[in-house]
Assembly symmetry: C2
Homo-oligomer: 326 residues x 2
């Protein structure tokens, strides 16, 4: 009923429709109409009420409500099941539990805020209410567990394409899967898998995006290393539009990988990379060293040219050295 | 209260204790005593009631109740938290959800029966009520995801030691982690991990053991390939004793690996192996071939000598060819 009333308001495209008309069309009481309108307002829809003219939808909600996601969705696998939370500890944790319980491939978890948002290696991810995209996608790929690392590159390629498409910014990928804008982090991706020795049960791709966060709202430890798309663009970015394009790009690239393997994705990753050709410092689990990032190999590992030869990095932190220090 | 009454009965070692004495010692009514005794009987404790003499514990329960597990436990990490189910879909699924929710390392899930017990690659695992051990253990090892395969070898070594200790049978390990008795399967181990690219979140080791299943009770597709410890021994095997020794052996070998690495475990695995030195058929994901299993390497992969050279097998099925066909 609420969705139907919203549909009616959307059809009027900002014109007023009287409570009486809604009541008659929907065959519900004026009081029921009023209550639904109140809930829609609480859901973030800017609806103007006029005592004589009735109701007019002035502005769509900016919340990532399942109905809005579905209305914008151009996918056949991703987003067919949507779990939406005002606030949740971590969308990845929720997605992992849904996956264990057998949710279909493509199920997504979206939250307006995360109480305990996480990045790689248990680091926290700044997740303020309504200002970011906090999204987890469940995939059940027919890959071997050894190929899981490449799924993270796949996600980075899809998200970077979507961001550049929507914002026109020239963002790029820092190995393995951070997306940077003007040398500052705007996206983090956390890929987690559940696997047997021989087979992947499922993969959860967690995507955190700084969309409309003001620069001064970042905590002090991120103040000089992070930014948001809105800051970089100088204008707010539609989260719902960005989310729907991310899902479409991710579905496209995932479908391509299942059909043709990872080679095209690795090529796209190389083209979008900010790391290749740069001097980097590697902070590994048991060693630190420096060199020039020259390529990624077929497993998605970063290849680094050092005086001692080519080093292969699969895990650990890689920082890009400022151009002046090279 | 129930545990205290049980303790009182156990202290009497089969002698009668009157309802009146229990009532006075415990400071509860005779009716309350009677109700607790009834519940204890339902839990599988054989308690004799005599109108004049009172109650006597004739036989301990054979159920794997948390209180019984704790009473037999010789561990400081494993089994400190126990989740017990009369029947559950799969102990591994339950353990995975508990692990996502942050349960401590060493948490175990035990069930008398599984409605949807699973082995490797989504195969089912025969899980009749009260006749097997269906156990999952949550570990949070500081290993890389690449080392997860070796955890399955570690579990096989621990379980095989426990079984041979308790039963005196000469069971051995078929690569990677089945335990065979007289060429028939008595144990299957399903290791599942949740991991980021760089780090393991947790590992769930699922252990299914055919303990007291009658040979004729196996489904027809297992009739010639599976057996139980009781069939092989010619007498019932105490599940609670076996379970507690498995936990102790697993904790010992896990502690050793964390301290000294996997080398001692791989050596123990080699010594307990039924596969090494045998002609085997390999049914891989994308190829089939035959050869002689000569060793496992540092990653736990099986090395097979073929006319074309040494083949390395990490996944897929390996069947041991009967000695006569070699």
């Amino acid at each position: 009923m609420r969705t139907a009333i919203l549909e009616l308001l959307k059809q009027k495209a900002g014109e007023y429709i009287s409570g009486e008309d809604i009541s008659q069309t929907m065959k519900v009481s004026r009081t029921a109409v009023w209550k639904h309108i109140r809930t829609l307002k609480q859901d973030g829809y800017a609806i103007e009420s006029h005592p004589r003219l009735g109701y007019a939808l002035r502005k769509n909600t900016d919340r990532l409500l399942p109905a809005e996601i579905k209305a914008n969705l151009a996918c056949t696998v991703l987003g067919q099941e949507i779990y939406y939370f005002n606030e949740i500890d971590s969308t990845n944790n929720q997605a992992k539990k849904l996956a264990v319980d057998g949710c279909p491939e493509g199920t997504i978890v979206v939250a307006e805020a995360q109480g305990d948002g996480r990045g790689r290696l248990s680091r926290s991810w700044f997740s303020p209410y309504g200002k970011g995209i906090f999204l987890s996608v469940v995939l059940r790929p027919p890959f071997s567990p050894m190929e899981a690392a490449k799924c993270t590159l796949m996600a980075a390629v899809a998200v970077n394409r979507a961001i550049n498409d929507v914002t026109g910014l020239g963002c790029g990928i820092k190995w393995p899967n951070d997306i940077l804008c003007q040398d500052r982090k705007v996206v983090g991706i956390l890929t987690e898998m559940s696997a047997e020795i021989d087979a992947i049960n499922h993969i959860v791709i967690g995507i955190g995006i700084n969309v409309n966060i003001d620069q001064q709202d970042f905590p002090s430890d991120l103040a000089t290393t992070a930014t948001s798309l809105a800051v970089a663009c100088g204008r707010p970015v539609s989260r719902i539009k960005l989310l729907s394009i991310i899902l479409a790009e991710l579905e496209a690239v995932y479908t391509e990988v299942k059909k043709s393997g990872f080679e095209p994705v690795l090529a796209a990753w190389r083209a979008q990379s900010l790391t290749l050709g740069r001097k980097v410092n590697v902070h590994g689990i048991d060693r630190n060293f420096s060199g020039e990032a020259v390529d990624i190999d077929d497993d998605g590992a970063l290849l680094i040219k050092t005086p001692q030869g080519i080093e292969r990095v699969m895990a650990g932190d890689v920082s890009i050295r400022p151009a002046s220090s090279s």
